[in-house]
């Protein structure tokens, strides 16, 4: 049974809305109803999206293992796919961190087929690292391929299961 609120407290609670209304009327001041958004919000949201995606892939890996589904080849391949997506998210997040967040890296098109990567401290290691990070499709395409392979295996397993059921 929930404890009964004492009468004095209830009386105070009753007066709070009335007091708030009274303050608003008696003490007026400027309010900013529409919040202004800075330009960095977009990249932060994007980064958060990447991290959310990454987290969901980690969760998927552990859930598949937790359910014992990793004993099936199809689900194992989906786990590998999730792993590659994690790597891709890490790569993308890092690249965005350098170019959009801290602006440590900047790309300039010099001519067709030539680009200049300008790093804030002229670090060639960072330039090379950023150059490699720009090849992120090398991570997400294998992730998609592994997802496709995983699904194909699940389809094949299901098909053989159905054939076996029909035979019996």
């Amino acid at each position: 049974m929930p404890q009964k609120i004492p009468y004095s407290i209830r009386l105070i609670l009753k007066f709070i809305p009335a007091m708030a209304v009274a303050l608003l009327i008696l003490l007026p001041m400027d309010v900013f109803a529409i919040q202004l958004h800075a330009s960095s919000e977009g990249i932060i949201t994007h980064q958060m999206g990447h991290l959310f995606f990454l987290f969901s892939m980690v969760a998927l890996i552990f859930t598949v293992t937790g359910k014992g589904l990793d004993r099936q080849k199809g689900w194992r391949l989906i786990q590998y796919s999730a792993f590659f997506f994690i790597l891709w998210n890490l790569a993308s997040t890092t690249a965005h961190f350098f170019d959009n967040q801290i602006h440590a890296v900047k790309i300039e098109n010099i001519s067709f087929g030539k680009i200049k990567i300008i790093t804030s401290n002229d670090s060639s290691v960072l330039a090379w690292f950023y150059y490699v990070l720009k090849l992120d499709h090398l991570l997400c395409v294998p992730a998609m391929v592994l997802l496709y392979k995983g699904l194909s295996t699940l389809v094949a397993e299901q098909k053989s299961r159905l054939t076996k059921q029909d035979t019996t």
Partner: protein, 498 residues
């Protein structure tokens, strides 16, 4: 630092195209999986993921290809103006994939519940099928048992030698077995069509009232001895047991009766009782006759001596002699009845004896107005082992009795027969006044007579009975008042001379 943009460009464009193609292929596979197992929530989940990935791949690839195209065509500014939108769509798409993925656990739980539910449903279905099969099997078994039981009951009903009769609440016959049809003498159709009641078979209407009241008050009757009347006015004794059935399974109230024919049994019991009575009388008579015979001999001897010597009381002595002689005859008859006498046995031709009796009696004045006929058995010789004179005496007695029954004018038939059981029957039938029912059980008793005083000693039939019993035979009587009487002597045939 200056780098070649070609690898980045190549990987970006080719990768984007590959992403779209593989995402679509994955979507196709997920659709196939869903089609193969439409009830599986996991396959639905995988389909959603693939849809998410396809949106992600298409939006991202489109953005990347567009970006490369615009940069290559020196429209970098344009790209900058739309890159925010492309990025936002891209963000939303992989967030969507992430969101769907996070639902996997929940989805899995739902799927497990569905599968567990389905398994339970399948198990229940199997159990139900099993129960249904068991039920069907049980129904078949019970039906067989019921049919068998019904068949047994029907057989008992049909084959029973006792009458089984079912009547409605007003005692109208509803069912009766073949034994009942034979017993009552009515056909089933007659009984049912004419709505005959159980009381219709009773010879005495008051007796039926008593029985029906009894069954209504006690709800049963047990072994009540009743006289039934058959269609030809023939009566027979039956034992009747019955009870009320208040009707189970929606049946109406009915009465069930079991009727046993005890006619022959009762007749046999009467005969046995009669035979026992006559045997006892025979023993008594033999004792008395033996004790009287000797003093009578002495009285007769001395009377005859006095007759020779003294002529003064000659007339008185002659009267004494005559009455002593009568007493001697009675004693002799009593001895004959009690089978204590001795007689010589030989082969006797019954037809010859009967023929002799008829010839002897037909000359008698009492038989002048009586039509006598003889129906002798033809074919086999009717030989028996016995005493010809004694047998002739019995037949003469029966014929004389018949003559008295017809009161000097009527018809007497004498017939002989040989049965399959090697019995020789001699039947003396008259169309006289018959014997009263109450006297039927006494006619073989010594000294029982219905004739006026002086006309008979009452020893004729009892002596005849004794003679026939001594010949291992039997004598029976059947009489209807006003219609006549038939005496039947049964003797064992002798087949030593054929």
């Amino acid at each position: 630092m200056i780098f070649s943009s070609i690898p980045i460009l190549m990987v970006d464009v080719a990768g984007s195209v590959a992403m779209v193609v593989i995402a679509l292929l994955s979507l196709y596979k997920a659709t196939r999986l869903r089609e193969m197992d439409p009830d599986n929530a996991v396959s639905l989940y995988l389909l959603w993921i693939c849809v998410g990935f396809t949106i992600f791949a298409v939006s991202r690839s489109f953005g990347h290809i567009l970006k490369q195209f615009l940069i290559m065509t020196a429209n970098t500014e344009t790209w900058h103006s739309i890159s925010s939108y492309s990025g936002s769509v891209n963000t939303v798409s992989f967030m969507l994939v992430g969101l769907i993925t996070l639902f996997f656990n929940q989805n899995w739980k739902i799927n497990e519940k569905i599968l567990a539910g389905r398994k339970k449903l399948e198990d229940t279905h199997i159990k139900l099928m099993d129960l249904n099969q068991t039920l069907e099997q049980k129904v078949v078994e019970r039906t067989e048992l019921l049919t068998s039981s019904e068949h047994k009951c029907r057989r008992i009903f049909e084959q029973s030698l006792d009458t089984i009769m079912v009547t409605d609440s007003e005692f109208k016959v509803m069912e009766i077995n073949p034994a009942g049809i034979v017993l009552t003498g009515y056909s089933r159709e007659e009984m049912i069509m004419k709505k005959m009641t159980a009381g219709s078979f009773f010879a005495d209407h008051f007796e039926w009232e008593r029985i029906s009241n009894l069954i209504d008050s006690k709800e049963y009757i047990l072994n009540e001895e009743i006289e039934f009347l058959k269609p030809g006015n023939e009566t027979l004794l039956v034992l009747i047991t019955g009870g009320v059935d208040y009707g189970a399974f929606g049946c109406a109230k009915s009465y069930h009766f079991i009727i046993k024919n005890v006619n022959e049994k009762r007749q046999m019991e009467r005969q046995i009782a009669q035979a026992d009575k006559l045997a006892a009388l025979g023993e008594l008579s033999a004792g008395v006759a033996h004790e009287i015979n000797n003093p009578l001999g002495i009285i007769l001897g001395y009377t005859q001596l006095l007759l020779k010597e003294d002529s003064k009381h000659k007339d008185d002595l002659k009267i004494i002699e005559k009455h002593v002689q009568t007493c001697k005859t009675v004693v002799s008859d009593l001895l004959s009845f009690s089978r204590k006498g001795s007689s010589e046995m030989g082969i006797v031709d019954i037809n010859k004896v009967v023929d002799g009796v008829i010839k002897f009696l037909s000359n008698h004045s009492d038989f002048r107005n009586i039509e006598m006929s003889l129906n002798p058995h033809t074919g086999d010789m009717l030989n028996i082992l016995g005493n010809e004179q004694e047998l002739a005496q019995v037949i003469i007695n029966l014929v004389i009795n018949a003559c008295h029954a017809v009161e000097g004018k009527g018809k007497i038939d004498i017939a002989t027969q040989k049965t399959k059981q090697d019995k020789i029957l001699i039947m003396v039938k008259d169309n006289g006044k018959g014997i009263e029912k109450k006297n039927l059980s006494k006619i073989f008793d010594p000294f029982f007579t219905t004739k006026p005083v002086g006309q008979g000693t009452g020893l004729g039939l009892s002596v005849g009975y004794g003679i026939i019993k001594r010949h291992q035979g039997d004598i029976r009587v059947k009489s209807s008042e006003g219609k006549g009487t038939i005496f039947t002597i049964s003797l064992p045939a002798d087949n030593s001379i054929i």
